[in-house]
Symmetry: none
Subunit: 224 residues, 4 copies
DNA sequence: TATGAATGAGCCTTCATTCAT
DNA sequence: TATGAATGAAGGCTCATTCAT
């Protein structure tokens, strides 16, 4: 996911270049074209300041067409947020799910994946937009959280539980410990990024360093 | 700062009851009256969805008057954000600044103050609003961060440096450690609150528990 | 003309089932299919509120096809109004044209035919639509009136003139008398129907009673 | 009521010339100014084809102001229709209500008042507009009918009942008779006017002649 | 000085019409 | 030839800002 283009499908040609003709609102390429335009606009302006005209221009599609694919501005936004979730969280849990014998390595791998995504430009923009409307559209931000952070937390907690049972970790409250670990993954990165204090995406090396330091801090304190 | 009324000044009478007459845009009580109304509206709607009419109604002041005190909606918003910073961060650094011999206790006190504020309803709303416009008004979110988190981080780091020098802590990178500590203060609280996953302000007891666990984790791992 | 289907032609098969292939815009069955759909939509919504999409759906024909048969929405509407006239007024003048020796019976028969039609659901809808656009499309309502009421009036007047000449009626102004008679045919029916004060089509018995009373009133006053 | 200006109030100055300042949506002159503009536009275009921009221009008032006085287009229209009713029917029943001993004269006076109004330009336009939306806004056309025709009919019927009881008239069904009479008032006028077959308002002389002929026809047939 | 009625640009959305398929 | 996806002007309505009172 690049910082300006959230495209998930990419058949290598634009909607108008493709052969055949699809039913109204059924062309996935055009749909994605609209979502990409909407992503750029919503990311920069937030939901309310973004105008359908802006999206029209950015997506290179006429206004009427947008309304064939999406019933209204809010539904377009909701669909875009679904895509944010998918783009951010799909497939980053492998490091935890694969039966990894080395706890430290598994946590570091997962932490790097997670931190890389949520501190990426696209990830930061998505979080900003969603946090910005959390007061008025609580269900959206809720579902974002549940699809993303919550799932990772559950997996981490299960992993910690296993190691506690095996005697390799000594943790009283594994739920709290999972929260701690997940925050340690992006110490000094996420918050600064969200508030615009760090303009560029952190370098992979910086992420690795931060994650490693966090995991080591965590393991040193909690080892049995 | 209560969750519905952010008034910082309270001279015990409304603007119109006060004696004398101030130059246009010079009455600090009326100014605060406007900011309080704006706070309630911006907190609920975000910057763009809030209307000046809403603020007019909420502040109990006429539209013309608002424009005497603030040039436009954006400046009103900026001034309000300045106030957020003041309300949130002024006077919470004593626990660190006072010459406290007990490190653990000092960190816990500071952590509780900080976490209580930034997970309060008012604090969450302020952060949401500011994060929501971070893309379009980077300077505002930046200055918010600098006034708030950054200052606390600098103080914490200085404290850590002192203890490292004194040999009671063994930390290689105290900057990173300060980030880690500040994130551990609100593990499992801030993020859930921001995304609307935790509707009510956390109980003081929950905050104390979280902060204590974070500080203990930190100290256990970093003690010399 | 039923209230929901104004079809005048019915060749027993839909356009696409018919053999051969007609030049664009030349198939009278398809043309009627469009007019029937348009009738249903225009009747319910009026000219301006009706959308070509509604008509498309109702007619079961594509938008492009409609534009092959009719240049634009207005022409479709005009053609439909022509059809209203035909459907309403064609063939109702026999009672007057046939050389009927019994004046009373002839007037009653004609009155019943006329009142039945113009108070029918289809008739009321057609009149409403046409009256509704009379200000903007005067020629259409004019021609509707001329094809319908005016012709009947002329025939009635001729009949009255004949009876005046024969000495059986004593009428000074037979033009005015014809107007009076035509209004008496639907006393208490037409106006209430137009303004929606009578929801259902009047029963045949009610029409007969009204027409008979009107004719008798008329003849009693004007008999020689 | 002139044909282009339905103004009921006329304080001799425009809203902006008047002294003092009224609360939003409370200035009756400005309100009337809007209604007058709306009247001109709705009369010419009908409800659906009329645009709020047209009304804005015609009323000489900004769009925002219209929305202070009326919640939306439909409410503006409804209020205008109320005014149509008032302008058309208020105070035309005196001829019937005053204790008039001469039946013929009373009916003629009332008939002239009624016919003059409902065949006036303003009256015709109002009826066209209301008939044009009768299918979609049945309550409006219903209430128009009830305020207008229905009330006159009830009064006429009561009068006829009185004369039947007194033995001066012999009518079986006075309800039907009242309908007949009311239609005879405008024989050859109303319908032609509605369908645009008579461009100019009928001359007073023509109305008098028509009404007189109708009343005489009626009385001759129904006299005891 | 404070007020709030008025303004009009701009918002989201619809729909008559076109034209590539 | 028939189709219906795409267009974009125009619709109803809102709201930041102004200015007469």
């Amino acid at each position: 996911m690049s910082s300006t283009k959230a495209s998930v499908v990419d058949p290598g040609m634009t909607a108008s270049e493709r052969p055949g003709r699809l039913a109204a609102g059924q062309d996935p390429v055009k749909r994605q074209q609209i979502l990409d335009g909407a992503n750029r606009v919503f990311s920069q302006m937030g939901f309310d300041a973004a105008s359908m005209n802006d999206i029209t221009r950015e997506a290179g599609v006429s206004k009427g067409t947008i309304y064939v694919y999406f019933n209204n501005k809010e539904e377009l936004f909701i669909d875009l947020c679904q895509q944010y979730k998918a783009a951010l969280f799909d497939g980053i849990y492998q490091a935890l799910e694969s039966n990894n014998s080395d706890l430290r390595e598994a946590l570091i791998q997962f932490g790097i994946s997670l931190s890389t995504l949520i501190t990426s430009n696209a990830g930061i923009r998505a979080q900003r937009v969603i946090i910005g409307v959390a007061e008025r559209m609580p269900s959206m931000s809720s579902s974002f959280y549940e699809k993303g952070p919550k799932k990772g937390l559950a997996l981490m907690r299960a992993l910690l539980d296993k190691h506690v049972a095996a005697g390799s970790l000594a943790i009283e409250d594994t739920e709290l410990a999972a929260y701690q670990l997940s925050d340690l993954f992006h110490s000094g990165l996420l918050r600064r990024r969200l508030f615009g204090q760090m303009e560029l995406e952190p370098e992979p090396e910086q992420i690795r360093k931060t994650v490693t330091a966090g995991v080591d801090l965590f393991l040193k304190a909690y080892k049995a």
